[in-house]
């Protein structure tokens, strides 16, 4: 087992950001040497970041590169003291203890998931928590006249008394921006603002950001969509594995340069790659189209077809929001929105409406969020493993307790789940061991197709390696695996074939021979060929 894996991987740093620590008058914000650790993982490693007054500064990076963490520190979600380093705003060191304090200093963040109250009007939303008073009562005239002004500034001709639920998602986003504007925002942070928008709406948003820039607003813009980044950004900072690897004017960069900076990492992780000999087609998905349950008309997955052969590992790569998880959920019967498309198992059309059907047919799905969808944390290891498999140990409606003690034990031993006893509560295990429990419960279900969604997310290197070995073992036994992963080295290191999704569409289908991370990332960002 390689212990130097990961760490060794990102030692390489082609463009170390070197700056003199002098507060320049045109710098509105500096984040100095920010380091943030979660138990066992260093998500940010000495990141320094400098924001010029009145610029649009794009933050780019793969999933998990540390963009969101950086923003959460800046906006006070991770309070002062939970990280190392300094935040300097207009030359003054800031110690935000919560979101309120950071907002008070003029930093507003607009998240991917909007935070508007649907049943309130635009005006009520904009002044929520900040209601202007006149004689101790809310001054509604002020609310609506100010709202109107803010909307007009953004070029929006909307009635401030419209309920937010009646607005399209694009307009809702603009209402959020208007809300930030009324709070005297000096720095506006947008986290993947166009993820949920259609092409036209995105263009509109970019035009408005351009307008705001002319009005002197400074903006941090986080996006996966490099074409948008290059349309709007003055400066681009690339994060990789928790480090700032480049911070340069956009004019001096190109899309392919940014892509190579985002992934620029040697394949130094050791993967126990072995050659598989795939057999006949086991699973075939034809013309899968999934509608967003929340935004009618928006497609999460758009006409995707692919097949999976027996004894192969098929990787699905793509950026956040590309539709990978939704695609897997639709195969397992847990997708919430409308779906159209067909699934064939061993040449026979199957109609999987819920996980029960999936488990019965031999298709199981390990979710990316194991605590939410994978485990009952307050139950023991044993109980979690047998949960989907109670049928197997039940006779005449009564659970056979000696089987219930015996069967899970095999998996605890085989998967090397580290625990004093299989009666330990799952909530007390480490991430890696929890993940092994989820895998154990699905192995006991005897699957033909095992869908693993980010199987190694947030788990330590040793457990990762165990999981890779296990995947190879299972494939040898004839199980077919689909692995969704945001870690390109992992996809390249483990898979026989790789699909790439971008914005719901299948943009790449590679045999894993002679391809590299850049090729995948290009397909994943929908960028140039």
């Amino acid at each position: 087992m390689s212990s130097d894996t990961e760490q060794g991987g990102f030692a390489l740093c082609r463009h170390p950001l070197e700056r003199e620590w002098v507060t320049m008058s045109d710098d509105i914000l500096e984040m100095r040497n920010i380091t943030k650790e979660f138990p066992g993982v260093r998500v940010l490693d000495g990141v320094s970041f400098c924001l010029k007054r009145g610029e649009i500064h794009a933050l780019c990076g793969e999933n998990g590169a540390g963009k969101s963490t950086l923003i959460k520190i800046l906006s006070g979600i991770y309070p002062y003291g939970s990280y190392d380093g300094e935040i300097v705003l207009e030359g003054e060191v800031q110690k935000f203890r919560n979101i309120k304090e950071s907002e008070h200093s003029g930093i507003s963040t607009i998240y991917q998931e909007l935070t508007l109250v649907k049943y309130m009007t635009i005006g009520e939303n904009i002044f929520l928590g900040n209601e202007p008073l006149k004689n101790k009562f809310i001054d509604w005239n002020h609310v609506y006249s100010e709202t109107k002004k803010a909307l007009t500034e953004l070029g929006l001709d909307l009635n401030p008394m419209t309920k937010v639920m009646n607005l399209g998602i694009g307009h809702q986003q603009l209402v959020e921006i208007a809300k930030a504007r009324t709070k005297n925002t000096r720095i506006l942070i947008l986290d993947e603002p166009t993820a949920a928008l259609t092409g036209g709406e995105s263009d509109h948003l970019l035009r408005i950001l351009d307008q705001l820039r002319k009005n002197g607003v400074t903006c941090i813009y986080i996006s996966h969509k490099l074409n948008e980044v290059f349309k709007i950004a003055d400066t681009i900072t690339v994060l990789r594995d928790g480090k700032a690897v480049c911070s340069e004017p956009a004019s001096q960069l190109t899309e392919s340069k940014v892509i190579s900076l985002m992934v620029g990492r040697e394949l130094s992780q050791r993967f126990p790659k072995v050659e598989h000999f795939p057999g006949a087609k086991v699973l075939e998905v034809r013309h899968m189209t999934l509608e967003d349950p929340e935004l009618p008309g928006k497609k999460k997955v758009d006409d995707v077809s692919f097949s999976l052969r027996q004894g192969e590992i098929l990787g699905i790569a793509g950026l956040m929001g590309a539709g990978r998880t939704e695609l897997a959920q639709s195969i397992f019967g847990v997708y919430a929105g409308n779906r159209s498309g067909e699934v064939y198992l061993n040449g026979e059309k199957v109609n999987i409406k819920n996980p029960r059907d999936g488990i019965e047919k031999g298709i199981v799905y390990l979710s990316e969020d194991r605590k939410r969808f994978g485990l009952v944390l307050g139950m023991s290891i044993k109980e979690n493993i047998v949960l989907p498999n109670l049928e197997k140990i039940t006779k005449w409606g009564i659970i056979n307790n000696s089987k219930k003690n015996k069967e899970p034990l095999k998996y605890v031993d085989n998967l090397k789940i580290k625990t004093p006893s299989q009666e330990q509560l799952v909530g007390n295990l480490s991430g890696g061991n929890q993940q092994k429990v989820v895998i154990a419960k699905w192995l006991m279900a005897n699957p033909k197709v095992l869908i693993l969604d980010e199987p190694t997310r947030g788990i330590d290197v040793g457990a990762k390696y165990d999981i890779y070995l296990l995947m190879n073992q299972l494939v040898e036994q004839g199980i077919s695996i689909i692995m969704i992963s945001s870690e390109l080295p992992e996809i390249l290191g483990m898979c026989d074939r790789i699909l790439v999704l971008n914005d719901g569409k299948l943009t790449g289908d590679f045999i894993n021979k002679g391809i590299d991370q850049e090729m995948i990332m290009r397909k994943a960002t929908g960028g140039l060929q």
Binding site: F332, V334, N354, P355, R356, G358, I359, Y365, S367, R372, F373, G374, L375, V376, L377, G378, M379, S380, E383, V386, L387, P388, L390, E391, T394, G397, I398, I399, N401, S402, N405, K406, L409, P420, S421, Q422, E423, Q424, L425, G427, N428, K441
Partner: protein, 395 residues
């Protein structure tokens, strides 16, 4: 009582089993705190009633009193563990009791047909609630609040607002009868032997699969305490009239439902739903089916409680079962059922039921005004939940 104790040691503890406490694994601190609370309550009442509280006659009455609400509490554990609530059990018990009385008194049905018909009504009512909760997604709080009114009105409707009485002797026996002292001793001996057998078998099975078994001394102590308690209890009630029939029924129901909760697919699914609904669905649990069965079982148990209530009062009255839901919910929560779902044991609810009944009975014995009794019980409910939530936070 006698069987109530045997499962405490097997309750899943909320606290992580720390290495240092491993020799005490199987001991549930919370359950023992409640036993302590019960002893304190008893001591107080014994003091204020000059010992009348623990007289054979009063113990017999106390346990008979507790039987009806505790049967409701047994079902309530499943309901609350799965993340629901049932506010209608009092009204449903009253309604089914009224159905039984009307069938017997006005339509001259025999005892057996009356019981079966009443149980069927309970199951139907459970099915009605299940339909709204499981298939229409209406919150159980609302559905059962509605039923609370509907069946309170139903009682008035079918009894025409009058007290329906008297019932046949064989029906009355269910509420007022006793197992003879000799029979009680036979049952106690039988139950104790079965219990000892179970403990031995469980030890064997655990050792076989390398699971940590509780220490031998602990098990011997446990068996000793429980057999002694069973003996003391049997001795006490035998020196009065014997084991009250409702208590016998309560013990049987407790054993059966504990078995269902621990050893059937349905039972484990209830706990999984309460622990993490989404993970349960992703594991193939059929939410609708499991939730339906929970409410149907609750309806059936409410009917059993209704039958016992009518039999004990020898009449169906319009306010029968009033506020029983409070006793049942409080009993379940005092017994360790978490309002946040996923955690709870049926024997624990029995302990909770005993605490509630003791407070009721003791306050009546020392002539505390009914108004104060009601206030005290209301406060106990909020206190029990507050303790539950505080203990969750600590973890």
């Amino acid at each position: 009582m006698m069987l109530a104790n045997r499962w405490w040691g097997r309750k899943k503890t909320e606290l992580p089993a720390k290495e240092s406490s491993s020799k005490w694994s199987g001991i549930d601190l919370r359950a023992y705190t409640m036993v302590l609370a019960l002893l304190v309550i008893w001591a107080v009442f014994v003091f204020f009633t000059d010992g009348k509280f623990i007289s054979a006659r009063n113990i017999s009455m106390l346990t008979r009193q507790m039987a009806i609400t505790s049967i409701l509490a047994v079902g309530m554990v499943l309901v609350i563990v799965a993340g629901h609530i049932d506010l209608s059990v009092g009204s449903v018990a009253g309604f089914t009791g009224a159905v039984a009385a009307v069938l017997q008194v006005w339509y001259h049905w025999g005892t057996m047909p009356t019981i079966l018909a009443t149980l069927a009504v309970g199951v139907l009512i459970g099915g009605w609630q299940a339909f709204w909760v499981a298939y229409r997604g209406v919150p159980s709080f609302i559905v059962t609040l509605s039923s609370m009114l509907v069946f309170r009105g139903g009682i008035l409707l079918i009894t025409k607002g009058v007290t329906v009485s008297p019932l046949t002797p064989s029906f009355k026996f269910l509420g007022e009868g006793y197992v003879s002292p000799l029979g009680s001793w036979v049952l106690a001996t039988l139950a104790s032997s079965i219990f000892i057998g179970f403990v031995i078998q469980a030890r064997r099975s655990r050792t076989k699969y390398g699971l940590p078994a509780s220490s031998l001394i602990f098990d011997i102590m446990r068996v000793g305490i429980i057999v002694t308690l069973t003996g003391v209890f049997t001795f006490t009630i035998s020196s009065y009239e014997g084991l009250p029939i409702p208590v016998l029924l309560l013990i049987i129901i407790t054993v059966v439902f504990t078995f269902i909760a621990n050893n059937t697919k349905f039972g484990r699914h209830v706990y999984a739903i309460g622990g993490n609904k989404e993970a349960a669905v992703y594991s193939g649990v059929n939410l609708k089916k499991v939730n339906s069965i929970i409410f149907i079982l609750m309806g059936a148990l409410a009917a059993v409680a209704g039958i016992l209530l009518t039999a004990r009062l020898n009449a169906a009255t319009t306010n029968a079962g009033n506020m029983f839901e409070l006793d049942a919910i409080a009993a379940a929560i005092l017994g360790g059922t978490s309002t946040l779902g996923g955690v709870g044991t049926i024997p624990g609810a029995l302990l909770g039921g005993l605490i509630m009944a003791s407070i009721d009975n003791g306050m009546s014995l020392i002539n505390i005004d009914y108004s104060i009794q009601t206030i005290v019980k209301g406060l106990i409910l909020v206190l029990a939940v507050a303790i539950d939530i505080a203990s969750k936070k600590k973890n």
